[in-house]
Symmetry: C2
């Protein structure tokens, strides 16, 4: 059991030890620990070693020169100079928010970046400004388009945060596949099969084997198969890919660099690094924020009061499960798996610092 404040302090120290300036290290640590707090450990401390190895292999820069390379009143393109993704993403979203203050909405496409943790973190940066926040990001290719066996798309998440009044904000944050990749790894470790609709084999036939990706299989887009609308999941993944990479000049689909250091970079990359896309929309560029937020409260109440299906207890508002996890971890602390504790200790030792969460 670890406290969030200890994990923040430790993680910031770890990135400072890699040469990251103190402010940036604190931000990276905050994204890591927010993932743990929100019950998404697949994007928390588990990833520290991956980031450390990327840094060691010089695939990310600790102190990059992040700059705007193109802009209009409501848009910008940022070159992140191989930054650690969190720094690139937070800087980009901040610029989107500034643009929205000036002209109603702001849209920033970012290239030459890397894995940035939980997409929802940056979308939620818009909330205190009474803005809607949007984050899109492409990721290394694991997903085959409908009717294909070629792995051309990532799990390409979409996050949208919308402010409400008396209720907590609506925060949608989801991969454009039925499941996140981590679910396959968990099933594999447990020796379990997965439901049909998650993956296919190397020929494109349905598979329940969580390890099928190692044998040329692929993940499926949201919808699973054509009959259940996988062509719509393919469209969504494609849109996230195009917005994140082609507007910014980053790599698309099969050329997206892996966020794991032992996987080689794709050859003949047509762009620069990983791409992201951020949006901020000022509510009062459409109607008074108080009026909108009162209607969001009505929307949330209407959906909270929906009749549950037989055997179900309640209907969730997007973001509610993560917020309840935040309340629970604030009360009970954060549990880090023993295997992750050991990995983090290795990284700490290599960086000449200590990790003692208990």
């Amino acid at each position: 059991m670890a406290t969030a404040s200890y994990l923040r302090m430790f993680t910031a120290r770890a990135f400072e030890a890699m040469g990251v300036p103190a402010n940036d290290a604190a931000l990276i640590a905050d994204v890591f620990v927010r993932a743990e707090e929100r019950g998404i450990p697949s994007h928390g401390m588990l990833r520290l070693k991956d980031y450390y190895l990327l840094w060691k292999e010089k695939r990310v820069k600790a102190d990059p020169y992040i700059r705007v390379v193109h802009e209009s009143p409501s848009t910008a393109v940022i070159d992140a100079d191989m930054a650690i993704g969190m720094i690139a993403a937070a800087r980009s979203m901040q610029l989107a928010i500034e643009k929205a203050k000036a002209c109603g909405t702001g849209w920033v496409a970012t290239r030459n970046s890397n894995h940035f943790g939980i997409a929802g973190y940056y979308a939620m940066m818009a909330l205190p400004h009474d803005m809607i926040g949007i984050t899109l990001c492409n990721a290394n290719p694991l997903v085959a388009p409908t009717f294909s066996v070629s792995r051309l798309l990532g799990t390409n998440p979409i996050a949208v945060a919308i402010p409400a009044g008396k209720y907590p904000a609506f925060v949608a944050d989801f991969a454009t596949t039925p499941i996140a990749r981590g679910k396959l790894a968990i099933a594999s470790k447990k020796g379990e099969k997965v439901p049909l609709g998650y993956v296919q084999d190397a020929f494109g036939f349905p598979s329940d084997d969580p390890d099928i990706l190692k044998q040329g299989g692929a993940m499926l887009p949201l919808g699973g198969d054509r009959i259940h609308g996988s062509h719509k999941g393919y469209c969504l993944g494609a849109l996230v890919d195009i917005f994140s990479s082609l507007l910014s000049g980053a790599n698309f689909g099969p050329f997206v660099p892996p966020s794991i250091a032992y996987l080689p970079l794709p050859e003949n990359q047509p762009g620069l690094g990983t791409g992201h896309f951020f949006g901020a929309m000022r509510i009062d560029a459409f109607r008074p924020a108080e009026e909108f937020k009162a209607m969001m409260d009505f929307w949330i109440e209407t959906f909270k009061n929906a009749k549950p299906a037989e055997g179900q207890e309640r209907v969730y508002i997007p973001g509610e499960i993560e917020r309840e996890a935040e309340e629970r971890t604030a009360r009970e602390g954060i549990t880090i798996l023993p295997s992750v504790v050991n990995e983090v200790k290795e990284v700490a030792s290599a960086l000449g610092i200590d990790f003692n969460p208990d």
Copy 2:
């Protein structure tokens, strides 16, 4: 078999006979016939009678006063004064395009509108300007959120059109449910069952009955069930609902007015009419349009060259099937079902005009 030009001429005359100004009638006709040309007859001549009845019941206005009620440099809200949806939508998208010319992107939320036909039509209006076009629209409630039996969301489509260079544009246009509602009607008419994952019964159990909506059932969000990611389809439908209605002041979810005249309007509506949301993004607000379009060509080639799954012939680019339908109907003409021909003849006769497609 009808020619597109005859259908355009006839449909424009029909709306002129309802008192719609000639320019607007021609636009409405164009949206109707584009649906037929693109192989989406569920949004074509089949709908003429619905529009006629809405007009007769005074639920749409033939000559509305459409006005901007709020704006910022990159945004606007339009009150469509109960316009026929096509007029409201085209006017709104035109304004989004003008805003994008001035400040990079333009975003217009529209209230007090009605059913507007195919969402892709308006997204595609951005293409000749080297812009990305986006259309969202909510619709009458048929879909239950995950874990619920309450019908709170429509099939809420998303359309995004992205210009390419030597290849036709990428045009995604899809409902946020596994299928469009029309598929249920077709299965019902044929006396066929539907695959599990489309609908549930009044208790929330899986159903294969295409008529289950008449017995308190509901359509399911994209993903079908929780295990296959229906909570993500629910998020998508919710986002379309909120963007279309709460930013503009239109009705959300269960309060969206039915687009069929014999269904009563919901009581205690909190907003005005149906809502839409439009976006236009100038490509060169991010990078030179020629550079982007060359990369889109590379993207399209990469996906076209994806290896087909066993038993499949090819991988489709979003919009390709509709474009091929356009080529086919241009060559072969448009087939209107006899039952639709009869309905259109009834409407024509009531309006004092002729319908002779052959």
